[in-house]
Amino acid sequence: MERKTFPGTLDSLEGIRQEVKEESQRVGLSKKATYNLLLAIDEIATNIIMHGYEENDKSGVIDLQIDHRDNQIEVTLEDDAPPFDPLQHTLPTEEFFNKPLEERPIGGMGIHLTINAVDKFRYEFANQRNRNIFVVKVGDA
């Protein structure tokens, strides 16, 4: 697929999900794997927009690239926000998730959901850009 560029704003989320969904369906990814891929991408895209751009008073784009080869689908999001590697972020523990809601911080679930939702999640900083890469095998049950 050629690269698509979206403004780094929340109203881009739906369009990003839509692109990924269409391609996933086209290559025959299961409904469940598709849902999880969309969830992962939505979480990371949200973080780019909110934490990467907005909290740094910056604006910018998100580039979306979808590749299908070797029986897997690979989605890449690229942005120009300050470098942030989600895999370096400390994930919430079991204890966190067992806490009653009234004692939990209100967020902190996005990266956890992302990592759980795809077969492989990778981060690179290349050409001065953040690159978040999601890989899902096609043809799994």
């Binding site: 949200t46 927009i49 809601l101 009234e102 939990r104």
Partner: protein, 104 residues
Amino acid sequence: MSFHILSEAKKIAKITLVGEIDSLSAREFQKEIEKLATGSPDELILYVENLTFISSAGLRVLIFAKQKMGTNLAIYIVKPQESVLETLEKTGLQHSVNIVDQYL
């Protein structure tokens, strides 16, 4: 005498969610919760049979609801789709809400 009566009175807030909740639409959800919170409901009932997507932004609103409406607030989630249910489970929310097929 074979007669027995049980009664209870409470304030309930019902929300029907249809479609997709991402960080954008979660804002509408949050506004609705804020509006309903002013009435201090005892129960929040979410009809989600036709909710097809929920990101962590939607879950944040649930946690916010519990914190804003008071610890005693009972949250019912009626008929979640499988993916939505899985997300609730993966984030431990199923311990703090009542997932039901039907609100009685």
